[in-house]
Amino acid sequence: MPLLVCKNVTKRFGGLVAVDDMSFTVKHGEMMAIVGPNGAGKTTMFNLINGVFPADEGTIHFEGVDVTGFPAFKRAHLGMGRTFQIPRPFSSATVQENIAIGAMFGSAGSEISVDEAMDVADHYIGLIGLSGHRDKPAGGLTPIEKKLVEIARALAMKPKLLLMDEAMAGMNPRDIDEMVAFIKKIRETEGIAIVAMVEHIMRAVAGLAERVIVMHQGALLVDEPTKEALTDPRVIEVYLGQPAEEFDA
């Protein structure tokens, strides 16, 4: 059974069609990227999968369950985790509390107590290397630290599907490589079934994704293994604005 099945998902804002008849499948344990130029509808697609707002048309199935009408928190309980493009930690709560909240209300949340959630949080704090900041209010962290907390918080939810929206935004190449290594590591050690990311940064995509979906003006352009997608002329055209042949090698 596939993990996530989106069929004919469409979302309109007034006259604008932000997501246009998107259909794709994600398998358990797969690492996939959704890419596309700005305004292609990637974040909107994430919001639809996640349940931040409902789709106008189409269906979404998660592990066989029709979640199309489910509110965001229910989808989280089923196993969806999410990080945002601009990190949104709970500023007045400490780093530990932030991550513990992920553990408390995520997919395994109903079984663990507050104290156990705090222990889980400690584990992830160690993983992201912020043990010194454990009791600091999250609002006072640097953007990179906030990003790490955001990821740890999502991980603590023990998601089966982790949606990472532009996790590499604003990073320099060395940090990107570190983040790529980090994501690879958590995939192995945490048994996170799948990481789906929205990315501009091809360096990260190439390093992590097995499969790539390219969106363009809200619609699906290509859906193929990474190597093919990166050299697909349609993709190049959409990014560069003109057919590849018109460029000199």
């Binding site: 931040v52 309980h77 999410r82 909240i101 209300f105 995520g106 454990r134």
Partner: protein, 332 residues
């Protein structure tokens, strides 16, 4: 760093504060009026804080819950005074007060809590007025004539007991409500409820995505806060004053005071409402001697100042100062 057993330490300063206040009142009976006023404001603050402080939503119609609580007690005494039930009427009255406020809060919450920030505030502004006009307009519970039940109190409990309740035991019960409110606040803060509320207060959309059913938790906070308001109305108003008029008990003035107290002390903290209640109560008391009728003129700009410059309130600032000191365990 927090040992499991230390989780409930913060209740100690609360008990110390209320104990000291009560003790002061018992040792100096002449000051009992002031003490009961202070206790009233602290309780009001704690009850209101459970919702506004912890969720970040403002319920401008809050006093309506106190109002129906008052009616709950009033009705019990008015109608049951000749059944020979003695003091258990008070228990019935309290239960009715809680029931009324829970029912009203569920009715309001069902509509209002689905709405965000500004719309919620708008909806609640109407509750207060709306409910009062319903009572007056449909002549429910005697409409605008209210209920006066001094006579019925005397019949139910005997004259001396009725007097003692009105002048002393009602206030003691109010202290009980105060402690109950504090305990509930702490229990919520130390359990999943509290963390859910913190999350939804900070960033409601992110909270939803983290798996928090924000509506459920808003309702929990709302109902608890309303029930406490009902108890406060039943004790501090019904039992003490022994009459109830719709114009009095739905007076928006009390909601304003509740807002001032919570902001002054520190919204969302445990000790905040107590500190706020004491500061506000004492200031108001002395202002009313020196400059009667002017307290809002003084406090309204202070509120703006607090919101703009010091939104974390007194205890909020205090909390920051005691990080990494032993006091950190007690001041939250």
């Amino acid at each position: 760093m927090m040992k499991r057993t230390h989780k409930y330490f913060p209740i100690l300063p609360v008990l110390v504060a209320y104990g000291a206040l009560l003790g002061y009142g018992l040792f100096f009976p002449g000051k009992w009026q002031l003490v009961s006023q202070l206790a009233f404001y602290c309780t009001l603050g704690q009850a209101f804080n459970l919702f506004m402080g912890m969720t970040g939503y403002v319920d401008f119609g809050y006093v309506a819950f106190m109002g129906v609580g008052t009616y709950g007690m009033a009705i019990s005494i008015y109608h049951l005074n000749e059944k020979g039930l003695g003091l258990s009427i008070i228990l019935i009255g309290l239960s009715l007060a809680v029931a009324f406020s829970i029912i009203l809060s569920l009715a309001v919450g069902a509509v209002a809590l689905r709405l965000r920030g500004a719309y919620f505030a708008i909806a609640t502004i109407g509750v207060n007025e709306g409910f009062r006009f319903l009572i007056e307009g449909a002549r429910i519970w005697n409409g605008s004539e209210g209920i006066i039940f001094t006579r019925h109190m005397k019949k139910a409990f005997g004259k001396p007991a009725a007097m003692a309740i009105g002048t002393f035991w009602a206030d003691i019960m109010m202290f009980g409500v105060a402690v109950l409110a504090a305990v509930l606040t702490l229990v919520y803060m130390r359990n999943k409820v509290g963390y859910a509320l913190t999350a939804l207060r900070e960033d409601e959309d992110a909270a939803k995505v983290m798996g928090i059913n924000v509506t459920k938790y808003k309702i929990i906070a709302f109902i608890t806060s309303a029930a406490l308001a009902g108890l406060l109305g039943a004790t501090a108003w019904a039992l003490k004053l022994q009459y109830v008029y719709p114009t009095d008990v739905f007076e928006i003035h009390y909601t304003v005071e509740a807002i001032i107290i919570v902001l002054l002390g520190g919204a969302g903290t445990l000790l905040g409402p107590i500190v706020g209640g004491l500061i506000y109560g004492i200031s108001k008391y002395y202002l009313s001697i020196v400059l009667p009728g002017f307290q809002l003129l003084i406090f309204a700009p202070l509120i703006v100042a607090i919101i703009v410059l010091f939104p974390e309130g007194t205890v909020g600032i205090l909390k920051k100062k005691v990080i990494n000191t032993p006091l950190q365990k007690f001041i939250i």
